[in-house]
């Protein structure tokens, strides 16, 4: 579904991603696993069209979306949802408005119905009139996910979504995320540095280090990988 062909991207003269070739299958939950600074977030941003690589091509559903420093399909036309690391909830909008805003702009019908349906799905109905700063960490997380899901993306990008949550909450949200793929017919790309998270939910894991793929495969394949870096990474 998503294909990177010889993608290179640098930031302030430092190579973040170097001649990367990558394939992500449709309707699967793929984890990009790696340490901080390995290039995982950059890959997500390249998929979303928020960064433009210095060289290489990106395909989504066999359609060329980025080609050698040229953005062919802008982010809003890629049918993508993005859960940012800082969640990027609009602080001056209520929960309801955070979720409804995209629908309003697209002039969708039955906005109320759609918003309350998803709020109910995540158990957030009674928080509809609250502002983000009035919510708990887990609630914010779910609002961010809801906001993306109401627009029916085909691809959901999640950048370390559980970084600030406690174990119990992580479990709860991971369960939600696991179900998203089936219930919403999504391709999910999930970035994390926590291999336990990856092993809980991923159909496929790609281990990244210094902008290069160290290993990719199923959970079992990664667990049994002979790659020195992967072995070292999984030790902790």
């Amino acid at each position: 579904m998503i294909k990177f062909e010889s993608i290179s991207h640098s930031y302030k003269n430092k190579n973040v991603v170097d001649n990367l070739n990558l394939q992500i299958e449709a309707n699967k939950l793929t984890c990009l696993l790696g340490s901080s600074g390995s290039g995982k977030t950059t890959i997500l941003r390249l998929i979303a069209g928020l960064e433009i690589p210095q060289s290489g091509n990106i395909f989504i559903d066999k359609k060329l979306v980025t080609e050698n420093e040229k953005l062919i399909v802008p982010p809003n036309k890629r049918n993508i949802g993005f859960i940012f690391q800082d969640l990027a909830l609009w602080p001056h909008f209520t929960v309801y408005k955070n979720i409804a805003f995209g629908l309003t702009e697209r002039k969708e019908k039955d906005i109320d119905k759609t918003v309350f349906k998803i709020l109910e799905y995540f158990g957030l109905k009674e928080h509809a009139d609250k502002y983000p700063h009035q919510l708990s960490g887990g609630q914010k997380q779910l609002v961010a996910i809801s906001r993306s899901l109401v627009l029916k993306p085909k691809i959901l990008l999640m950048d370390e979504p559980l970084a600030n949550l406690d174990v119990k909450l992580k479990r709860k949200i991971l369960d939600h995320i696991k179900n998203l793929k089936e219930n919403f017919n999504l391709t999910i790309i999930y970035v994390t540095h926590d291999h336990k998270e990856a092993f809980t939910i991923a159909d496929k894991i790609i281990v990244i280090e210094n902008g290069k793929i160290e290993a990719d495969g199923t959970r079992e394949q990664i667990k049994n990988s002979k790659n020195e870096f992967v072995k070292y990474f999984l030790e902790y």
Binding site: F82, H92, F101, E105
Partner: protein, 527 residues
Amino acid sequence: MNNNIKFINFFNGHKFFAAVYLFFFLFIILPVFYIFANTFLFDNSLVSNIKQLDKNTFLLLLNSSIVAFVVSLFATFIGSVLGFLLYKTNLKYKGFFKILFLIPLLISPYILAVAWKDFFSVFFQNAKIISSYFGVVLVQVFIYTPLAMIIVGNAFTNIDAHLEESGLLITNVKDVILKIELPLIKPAIFSSFVLIFIFTISGFSVPAFFGIRVFTTEIFTQFSAFYNHSLAILQSFLLVAVCVFLLLTESKYISNASFLSVGSKGTNKKLFPSNNTHILFLTIWFLISVILPFITLVVQSFSKGTSDIIKAFDLLESAVGNSIGFALLASALIVIVGFVAAYYSNTQTKSSSNFFDWSLLIVFTIPSIVFGIALIKFYNRVVFNFIYSGYAIIVIAYVGKFSFIASKIIGNAIKQIPQSLDEAAQIEGISFYSRIKNILLPLILPGIFASFIIGFIFSFGELGTTIMVYPPGKEIMPIKVFTIMANAPLALTSSMTLIVLSVTIFMIAILYSVSKIFMKNYGFYND
């Protein structure tokens, strides 16, 4: 992608932004370029004028730079302290003090200089102390400290409480302020420094009044005594070069730093408790910077009873409406231009300086009289009569002079907003203008209002360029004060100044109240 191509692509793709940029370029930049081009390319006296830029010229420029540096340093420091006390503590009646502390900024620099000299004459029987570099620095610090107060204070408002609270768990309040808060608002502090530096170095009236020779005295002399416009413009170019160098230094130092500090609004704003030391500092500063010159003006105004104040009312009555109208219109345009420039600089380009920024800076920096001459030489043509002989020329002058300030203040506000908020909206397919209207603008409202109010203050009191271009028969308050001042009793001049001051304060109080209503809706206020 090459920055120039980015620039063209961006403005090509966003018509409103392009229209604003074109307006600024055609109406304001072009006259300045025209006059510089004439001086450098078509003037036969260029070579002989360049020869006159001798060692003394550069020494004078250095001298003026040092004075400006000292003023900026003190004004920014004191302004930052005031900004903290008035925007980050739970002091009572803060709103009231925020307006009162603006008073020195609202009084024309020349008149403030006169008031201070009179104060020293009356109370110390000796005006020599103040007719010196000390006086030049003192008066200009009083004038520009409120500017730093507004800029830095607004930046303090935007800091997320969590960032401070996480610090308070580790260290004391003083360290949190010095090591967490101040670094977060570095752009605001630097902007404040740069703006005050430019104001000081390109200002003329205060040093001239105290008999201190500065670089702009030289420019004024060339214009007015020698009628050597070309040399004056050449000298202005040097002034611009100094300011450009300063701006380059600022952008290099600031550009890589992270200043994202906007979190949730409303109750997540941290206010520190005030104490007696704070109150003492505010009281002392209030007495010295506001009460003393104000009392001097009041005493002078009423020295012969109320006859002078009544006469002053009569003289200024016809000019009030015009002055307020032009200043309000100009402020709106200043905010629009400043926003467009700031938006492009802070969101579309990794380099924090571009042609638009430099244009704003150049027009801001060149001495008012030079800008005035540029506008005359460009607009004084039959085809532009509808601009030159009407009110438009005055509004153009204001917008040209002060858009740079707005771009700095708004730019600092934009820097504090995480890019992810806009990116999240982009991905949702929210249109460009909708993102600006619904996401960005509400979050930078304090910066927008601060720019509007500052734009109003400066436009309302602007004299140097306005005197060169205002159409005959049209009355504007500061011009009226200064033309009457030429041979009016001191009491009348002081009365007129008091009235101008009162009108300004009244307008600012209204603007503050309006801004408060707007910002409450977006959870900016909890005082």
